[in-house]
């Protein structure tokens, strides 16, 4: 990003004024363009810059108690030549973002004219840099995930969906909900035996899930029994999650009922979301 060139960020084309332009008109132009400054040109040659701050200096006070001591028409008679700065830092379109940031981080310069072959081709201010920053941040850190639900197996079967979930959660500082749905037991077992087996499995699964979450993540774990797709959808609805992460088979089964987007993790891919 620091090697990005400013030509992708600069405002272009940009309105210009001449030394003879009235200050009031320059103010209007600047406000309409939404810039913090305007290049001052003679013909095509850059001869100065007029910043918003330079205009504030010659405008009457905004406070009535002070404004009543001023000659009302004064700024109307002033020309850009009276307030502009003649020594101007310029950049070429190929200058680095780093260079622009260095200049704009100081308090003096509010907008940098971009000059190519002696001609003004654009303008770069904090406004333009913020636009690039917002876009880059958005691209690298997509809109936030507050809570993610991962439907995972236990033991080896957990790997792809689990690691994808942890990587995503770390990126987004999201709260993680790990859900393991135990398949229903075969009929035929006695009720008590059935309960006992289920309890054992549940305890084992809870323990395993709890142990798989790194300490720095906020997580809750849950184990239920039944139809996996139905259980996952129900849990996602109850906990108002932003995303469900599951292996491809489960993801397909719940895709149509899910209350939120579903991320399908192919089996065998363990390095999915880190990049």
């Amino acid at each position: 990003m620091r090697h990005m060139k400013i030509k992708i960020a600069m405002k272009s084309p940009v309105p210009t004024v001449e030394p003879s332009t009235e200050v009031e008109q320059a103010g209007t132009l600047m406000a309409n363009a939404g810039t913090m400054g305007l290049p001052v040109v003679e013909g095509r040659r850059l001869v100065g810059m007029v910043h918003r701050r330079d205009l504030l200096r010659v405008q009457p006070s905004t406070v009535p108690a002070l404004a009543r001591y001023e000659w009302v028409s004064a700024p109307g008679r002033l020309r850009v030549a009276d307030v502009m700065r003649r020594e101007v830092v310029t950049l070429t379109p190929d200058a680095s973002m780093q260079e622009a940031v260095r200049i704009l981080s100081g308090r003096e310069v509010e907008a940098i004219p971009v000059v190519d072959d002696g001609e003004v081709v654009g303008l770069l201010g904090i406004h333009e840099l913020l636009t690039v920053l917002a876009r880059e941040l958005e691209r690298r850190w997509p809109p936030r995930l507050g809570r993610v639900l991962a439907a995972v197996g236990v033991g080896d079967g957990a790997a792809p969906a689990l690691s994808a979930t942890l990587a995503l959660a770390r990126r987004h500082r999201a709260r993680v909900i790990l859900l393991h749905v135990m398949p229903p037991l075969r009929r035929g077992l006695g009720f008590e035996l059935r309960q006992e087996v289920l309890e054992q499995r549940r305890a084992h699964a809870l323990q395993w899930l709890a142990a798989s979450v790194p300490e720095e993540l906020e997580a809750t774990v849950a184990v239920t029994e039944g139809d996996e797709a139905a259980e996952v959808v129900a849990k996602a609805e109850r906990d108002a999650v932003d995303l469900i992460i599951a292996d491809a088979t489960t993801a397909r089964a719940i895709a149509h009922q899910a209350p939120c987007p579903v991320l399908a993790v192919p089996a065998g891919r363990t390095d999915h979301a880190g990049r």
């Binding site: 002070l66 001023e70 913020l130 941040l137």
Partner: protein, 138 residues
């Protein structure tokens, strides 16, 4: 990438009755182009260097320098501050904050949690990310 990671603490704030001269001194002393106006821990507004510049008389004033200086000590910041400025929360995504700083054309976003001012996020602090190559991972 949340606001909390990049905000700065509130080094200085002013009560609404503080004067424009107080605001100017605070900005100079702390090297900041804005100061939050706070009452009982709650944010009322924001006064920036530009607000002060706009409040200063133009050269067409009939006042002497001494008179201007005097007036600046009598005018409260509440007369020129931006009321109810846009704010963010500590967990607001940084991208959203950057967009807000741009769209609202403010130099700084107050960070508010449970109605209290807990920090400030300056536009210049943010764009420094562009030069630094950003946080790890850029």
């Amino acid at each position: 990438m949340r606001v909390a990671e990049y905000m700065r603490s509130v080094a200085v704030s002013l009560p609404p009755a503080a004067s424009l001269a107080d605001a100017g001194e605070a900005m100079t002393a702390y090297g900041l182009p804005w100061v939050p106006v706070v009452q009982n821990g709650r944010l009322l507004g924001l006064v920036g260097a530009d607000d002060l510049a706009a409040a200063r008389p133009s050269p067409a004033t009939t006042l002497t320098v001494g008179e201007i200086t005097y007036h600046l000590t009598t005018i409260p910041v509440s007369a020129v501050m931006r009321l109810d400025p846009p704010v963010v929360a500590p967990d607001t995504p940084l991208a959203e904050a950057a967009g807000l700083l741009r769209d609202e054309s403010v130099g700084v976003l107050p960070v508010v949690e449970d109605g209290r001012l807990v920090g400030l996020l300056g536009a210049r602090d943010l764009i420094a990310l562009l030069a630094a190559g950003g946080p790890q991972g850029w």
